[in-house]
Each structure stands twice: as C-alpha cells, then as structure tokens.
C-alpha cells in the first residue's frame, strides 16, 4: 500500500489533444474494481423491489425456449437430431443470449450513462466491460440450468462440453466489437439505439438458434456460414448436446477471424472517439 501510494504521488498525467489507438490496459487494470461495482450496480438495481429477485434471470431463456419449442418444435416440426426440442433450443439460446446481451448492454453504454461521462473521468471502456461482465454472469447461470436440463432430459453430458468457451469467446468478441463501434457513433447519432434492437431481432432469425443448420436448404448453407454466428451457435450445440456435426473447418476459422477482427476494430474506433464523447453526448 505504501509503495503504491509512493508510486501514485509521482504519477504524472499529461492531458493534450493526442489520441491513442488502443485502450490503456494499465489504467483499465487500475479501474478493475469499478467494472465489478458497475456490474453489481446493474444487477442489484435490476432486481430491487421484486418479489422473485434474481430468479428472474431464469425466466427469460426458459420462456424463449418454451416458445420456440411450441412454434418450431410442435408447429413447424423442425429436425433436432433426436434431442428434445426444448433442450435443443435452450442450447442455441445460451450462445445467442450471450451475444445479444453483450451487444445490447454495451451498445447503449455511452448514451445511457451520459450523466456520468460529462461529470467524472474514468476509462470509458469500464462501462461496456461491466455490462459484459454481468451478461457473462447470466450466461454462467444459464449454463447451470443447461446442465440440469441435459441430465433430466436424458441427453447426458459429453466430453465436448469442456470446449464450450471456445465458442462463447468469439460470440462475446463479436458482440463487444460491434457494440463498441455502435456506441461510439450512437453518441452523435442516436438513431443507432433504435436500429440495434431491430437488427438484433433480424439476426436471431437469420442464425440457427431456433433451428439447426441441417434444416437450412443445402444450397443456402454456405451463404449461411458467412454469418459468423452460424458456426458459433452450431459449435455451441455440438459442445452441449454432442451428436450433431461440426460446421466445416473453414467456417470456424472464418468466424474466429471475424470475431477477433471485429473486437480489434471496435476497440480502435472506441479509443479514437472516446475523447470527444463528453463534448457531444
């Protein structure tokens, strides 16, 4: 503590018009506690004055899975490779909810915290990071429910489940990268806040969340695989349910590359535009 204080007393800060290309990681580490506190603020505030409290975390994915089961499983009777449709769609939603949660939370993070941004300094990246952290927590809870579902339904747990992070990480990268670009521009063009939910909804149906890639006509599959989420969701289901086929290797590599590229672009755009946020928000 004393060493840190001594170090802090000679800390120099230079404020000028120069702009960075990538975030200052050392500074972000210094503010890690704020990431946790913002995340906790969002979670505790969300379930204050509710009777069921954090039980509401379970409601969303279960209701969606139930709805999908009815519409796609019973009415449309899509193939699920022998897995009960409810479990099938819940597995898809696990990846999807991570993606859309990170995207929604982070893309509104600047416009939603204008009061803070114009009044206090802290690395602005702290806010999208904290919304992402709380989404990750939700995903962890959903994963526990998933395990229970797998055991109850008799699908069982296969070894591939350990590879799940391999699919969830690019999903988070993809969402984070796009969200950083979106929120950087939403500061000036609020239209983005209206477009994002619509685009997300569209993307939900364009990705194999409620149905499998097998249900897509073969001549459309390669086109489908251009959506980086396709391989991610399919891969997730492969990890959780086993049995199904993995998307082709090129598609997986492509998705990973797009995810990393998007994150990088997002970080650069955000860092370059960050100094101007307080002036336009």
């Amino acid at each position: 503590m004393t060493a840190a204080a001594a170090g802090a007393s000679t800390r120099r800060t230079r404020i000028d018009s120069s702009r960075r290309w990538l975030p200052d990681t050392r500074e972000l580490i210094a503010y890690q506690q704020l990431v946790v506190l913002f995340g906790r603020r969002d979670l505790t505030a969300r379930y204050r004055q509710t009777v069921f409290g954090s039980l509401w975390v379970f409601a969303g994915p279960l209701v969606s899975a139930g709805l999908f089961s009815f519409v796609f499983g019973r009415v449309a009777d899509l193939p699920t490779n022998g897995v009960p449709y409810f479990v099938f769609s819940y597995a898809g939603l696990l990846a999807w909810n991570l993606f859309s949660g990170v995207l929604t939370g982070a893309s509104t993070s600047m416009t939603g915290n204008g009061g803070l941004i114009t009044k206090v300094y802290f690395p602005r990246l702290v806010i999208p990071l904290s919304t992402t952290a709380s989404t990750l927590l939700n995903t962890a809870i959903s994963f526990c429910v998933m395990v229970v579902l797998l055991l109850i339904s008799g699908v069982g747990i296969s070894w591939q489940i350990v590879l799940l992070p391999l699919w969830l990480t690019p999903a988070a990268f993809l969402a984070m990268g796009s969200a950083l670009v979106l929120t950087s521009f939403a500061v000036t063009y609020r239209d983005i806040n209206y477009v994002t939910p619509l685009a997300t909804q569209l993307l939900l149906f364009l990705s194999p969340v409620a149905y499998s890639l097998e249900a897509v006509p073969p001549d459309l599959r390669n086109l489908y695989l251009l959506n980086p989420l396709t391989s991610i969701v399919e891969g997730c289901r492969w990890s959780l349910l086993g049995g199904s086929e993995l998307p082709p290797a090129w598609a997986i590599a492509y998705s990973a590359a797009v995810a990393i590229g998007t994150l990088l672009v997002g970080l650069i755009v955000f860092t370059r535009r960050e100094p101007g946020f307080a002036d336009v928000i």
Partner: protein, 427 residues
Amino acid sequence: MSSEPAITVSHLTKEYVLGLTGRTNSLATITRDLFRSSARRTREPRGRFRALDDVTFDVAPGEVVGVIGKNGAGKSTLLKILSRITHPTTGYVELVGRVGSLLEVGTGFHPELTGIENVYLNGAILGMTRREIDERLDRIVDFADVSRFLETPVKRYSSGMRVRLAFAVAAHLEPEILVIDEVLSVGDAGFQSRCLDKMRTIASEDGRTVLYVSHNLVSVEHLCQRSALLVDGRLEFDGSTHEAIDRHLATFRQSEYGEATGVFDLVDGDRSTGNYDAVFRRVDLRPRGGELSDTVRMGDSLQVEIEVEGLDEMPEAVVIATVGSSTFQCLFRIHENMKRITAPHERCTRETIVLNIPMLPLTPGEYHIDLQVKGSDVRGVIDHVSRAATFSVVSADVLGTGFQYTSHDGPMLVAWDWELRPTRVDA
C-alpha cells in the same frame, strides 16, 4: 519536495464547433432542404467558439488557487479538461500526483442502491480502491451524518442527505490534487460551513493542491490566497484573490452599463428643496480609495468625493450624507460642519469634499446616499439631492470563516468581540 509545479497549464485552448454539438442534421431537415430554394435552406452555423483561449499558468504543490469569472468565461471548460472529461484542442496540462475532481456532487449515485453501496460505487468512480474506502468509511458516514439510513436506498433520501453523503465521499478522497466546482451551492447553511471547513483542512493542513471554481466569491476569498480570473476564455489576471475579485467585479459592472461607474453627475440631480446658494455638482465613489466603482466589498473602506460649487462663501454650512437602503430611508447619517473640515489650500468656488469611511458597516445589498447642505441655522436647506449616488455592497469573507452574509442578517455590519468567563455561584 521538489519545486516542480503540481499543475502546469500551457497555452490551453479549447474550441467548440458551433452547431455540431447535439444538433445532428436530421433526415427531416435534409428532406425539407431538398424542396427549398438554396437561400431558405436550414443552415447549420459552423462557426467556432473558443471556450478557452491560450491559457497558461502553474500551480505549486500545496497551493490553493481559485478560478473566478462570469458564466461562460471558461471556468467549467478548464475544470473539465483538468479532470480529463474533455480534451483540449491545442496546448496541454500536466499534473503531478493523483487527481480527484468534484464537478457535481452526487454524480454516479444510483437511486436504487443503498447509501453504503453508493459510497463504494461513488468512491470507485472517483478512483478509490475498496481498501481505501473501507479505511475511510466511518469518517465518511460521520461527516455525512446519515448513519441511520445506510441501508436505505438513496432514492428515499432527502436532497440534503444525498448532497451530504456525496460531498463526504469526495472530501475523503484525499488525492494530491483536488479540483472542485461549485459544491457549495447546495445544502443548508450549517452543512455549507462544515464543507468549507473541511475544504480548508484539505487545503491547508493536508498540504494538497486545490483548484477551486466558484461563483461564491466569499468562499473563494476564504479558501484561496491566489486566484485566476477568466474573461471570455482568456486568463485576464492571475494573482492575489483580492485583486482578482476587484477586477472581476469591475468587468461585471462595466459590461452591464457599458461604461465605468462610480461617477454620478448631480447637476441635473433629483432636488426637492433649497435656495441653491451652493450646489452639489458630482459624486465619485472609490472603494478602498482606489479605482472608481459603485461596487464595494463588505468591510472595505469607501471614499466619497463630493464636488461642490459656492461653498467657500458659507464657512458655517453643515454637510450631511445619509446612507439608506430600499427598505430603510436612513441607516446612518454623517454630519459635518464645514468649519471642522481641514483645507490645505485657499478656498475657491469649486471644491471637492473628500469623505472617508474606514469601514463601511453594511451587509450585501443595494444602497444609496442622499446629500444635503444646510446653513448654520440648520433649518435653511441650501441644496438637497436625493439618491445622489447608488452603490452595491457585495459579500466578502469579513469573519474569516467563509460565512456568507445575506439580507437576512440585517443591513448592518458591526465589530464585536466574544469572551467566556466563569460565573461564580455563591452558596
């Protein structure tokens, strides 16, 4: 300790592009413009506005510097740059040490969270670690005086409680450099004085560097030896707080009336009675015997220069100056027989009587001076000008405590002395 400045501000300039902020060309505007002749098109003015213009100054470690200026003079922009919220267009700022800024009390409070949760959140926003907050928690809660409500959501707090808690967190932040903006505009009088005391402690005893921006000149005077005066984004003056405030008040008056004030022509003054054997021609007001001005700081001296004509013929005349306010016709009156006024020269037709009031005993407000001159029999009025001069008294830190006088404290300022003595109780 090195002599290196804690804050270096070098050629700092901040430009805003007018019409760009918050007013994006909407599709509606663009479409409408398609159907309009080019002359009638909605033109966004793209002028540039300099909120700060080439500002340069240094602050030594442990120094407490005030920043004053009118609204829009660039004070807030300066603080926003210093607290890293916005970036300068050109120039730079260099800070040595940890910076804590308090631009608006209670920023980052979440209404749904409890008091204690908000203390941790707000502390982290201001850059404190969890351990630092743990260590200071008791002092923060004590200072804010909200211990009973720590588990209550902040949305149920009164606004006063919220402010107290927020100030308490920020005041216990203990950074090397503290940047404060207008914190005292909220809260009751008791809490305000506690805040001022705390800020004074932060500044003096803890040896921190403080940059304090306020419209409350009393608190600036109370806290700061040195002040910077910003006018239209430029650093107009940097030096003693007293002089900075004087200059600030002078610019204020000048722009309001367009010319230097403190000069009153009485040739066409408001006269009721008199035989006009002698007449008042004009009055000049010089606070502290210096520049002409009609703004006097509380507790300062005031020199009143009265130009008269024809008084040399009346050695027995009595000159009377009456100071009144809008609510009191007469607050105090000064009589003087011309016989008792020393004249180091041969008497002549036009003369100037100089009246010196070492300490003007008035609290902030608007006042006026009536002038009368009477013959030796006291009943015969020679000249009488109502409201010969008007002036205002503004707050100053006369008590040395930062206490701000208002009209509720009555119009008069008196000198006093307290003492405590044991009372002997005889059994």
